[in-house]
Symmetry: C2
Subunit: 305 residues, 2 copies
């Protein structure tokens, strides 16, 4: 039999990469057969920092999968965010913390989701439920994922479970959560090395719903103004993407991780999904206190579209 593989979403963030490595570790222990961590895209700077810090190899890159391949999904469920060929895969297990949409299976499966800040929080729970020991480097990966997804526990998606997990995981991994956390987040704000075409895809989620297609992309920074110096080129690349993919809306969110604010470049023929709530001026919307795509921006777009 082909080996079971596990992966997070396209344009992987730190949760998607770390949780696939952690899930492979967990499931290999549970099943006593090797489960292989994979990734659907490039490793970003933040994730690279985490992997190097804890001395863990990146998951294997895959582009598509064969029919009937047995797979596990972490940190996503929507087929539009998943691997090419997912429709014909055998989905065995999902551990996720997003809404369920654009997802279906032919057979019953193991599905575990909770509205917490990070997939890794649920994986940590599964280690405990199965009385499995967590090695320090695996704890470090889970810690990194939670810090990344919750912006060091400051995002409104953060729950008590995330906070408690961070405390415990920092202890097992033997790091100071605040010192390590800030270094990790800062590593992710080094955007200079990316072209504009790369920036808009770095952490982009594509949603298809009732014939409307849109993308919400997000980057973290310590200076929104710095990123907006590249506005003209970013707009060009976003408009290219809209044309190429037939999108109705592209929201490119730039989040200030120090002050917990965001501004976004909004383009497409359905910018009304944003402008019904916020004023858009020169394609830019200012969103004070907004940092979470899942909890703040996505529900807004869904409501207005």
């Amino acid at each position: 039999m082909e080996k079971i593989i596990v992966f997070g979403h396209k344009n992987p963030d730190t949760d998607s990469i770390c949780s696939s490595l952690v899930m492979a570790n967990l499931q290999t222990k549970l099943r006593r057969e090797e489960v292989i961590a994979c990734r659907l895209g490039e490793i970003n700077e933040e994730t690279k920092y985490a992997l190097e810090y804890f001395g863990v190899q990146a998951p294997k890159f895959i582009e598509k999968i064969e029919e009937n391949q047995t797979v596990m999904l972490v940190d996503h469920n929507e087929f539009s965010q998943s691997v090419e060929g997912i429709e014909k895969a055998k989905i065995d297990t999902v551990v996720d913390h997003h809404r369920i949409n654009n997802f279906q299976t032919a057979e019953p499966l193991f599905y575990y989701a909770q509205p917490v800040g990070c997939t890794a929080t649920l994986l940590f729970e599964l280690y405990k439920l199965n009385n499995l020991e967590v090695e320090p480097k695996i704890a470090g990966l889970m810690l990194s994922a939670i810090i990344s997804d919750t912006l060091l526990l400051k995002s409104p998606t953060t729950t008590e479970k995330d906070k408690k997990s961070v405390e415990e995981l920092a202890q097992i991994a033997n790091v100071d959560k605040d010192v390590y956390g800030l270094e990790l987040l800062k590593a992710g704000t080094n955007l200079d090395k990316y072209t504009e075409a790369e920036l808009i895809k770095l952490d982009a989620k594509k949603v298809e719903k009732e014939n409307i297609k849109y993308v919400i992309a997000q980057v973290n920074t310590v200076s929104i103004a710095d990123v907006l110096k590249r506005k003209t080129r970013l707009e060009e690349e976003i408009n290219n993407e809209i044309k190429k993919e037939g999108l109705n809306l592209f929201v490119f969110v730039i989040t200030d991780i120090v002050n917990s604010n965001s501004e976004a470049i909004v383009l497409g023929d359905r910018t009304d999904a944003i402008s019904k709530t916020y004023e858009i001026k020169d394609n830019i919307v200012v969103m004070p206190g907004v940092v979470s795509r899942k909890k703040q921006i996505l529900p807004l777009v869904e409501k207005n579209i």
Copy 2:
């Protein structure tokens, strides 16, 4: 705030009724606020036996729900099997053991599913995980649900977890699982009191997929021949239903719970979904060793359609 409600699927079987009562008990304890068990249809004879045996009132009947009502689903997820208005509800929690299909939410949720024989097996696990005591009558309801769904642990859907749960629950409920189990299943085979129109809806699951609509209904009996004495009238009612609901296929499965075999009446313009695998003669298909809709008949139809 409106109270949270929990319900199983339309045309409720013993798992759907018992698991909604059990889930209401569990969640009321966990949340310290009342969660109310509801049902989407009539109580069948088997379920009635279980409720009377353990002295529990049936859940409240509801036909539809208001917009934004907070709900929990047990034993199903497909909107086509759920309450009227489910599309606009706030789905907070799902505990289920079916594939995921025709289901979506706007927000993250608690979703717990495993490929086990019965929803109640997972609910029993949740009591344990939360260190909550199980009262004897609640254990009796879970026991009844598992016996019903697994045909007293004989269905191919049965897992080790279901078997273990039945042992433990029978002890808490203080009944002999085999004696009680056979009485429970027999109570469900008393089909004489139903009209043919009622029989075909007693435990019917409707599936919509890629513009194909079909129903797989199932009844339990100790004599298939007895049920087939009513074949002409059953066919009339099935054809009425096909016309009324615009169905492509209706499979009415008659399962012999003593010998673990089934025969089915198959009608519609897509009977090829069955005839590709089994010979249909005079609208009847004989399926030796087949007892599980979920594990045996549904995958067959899906593969052939």
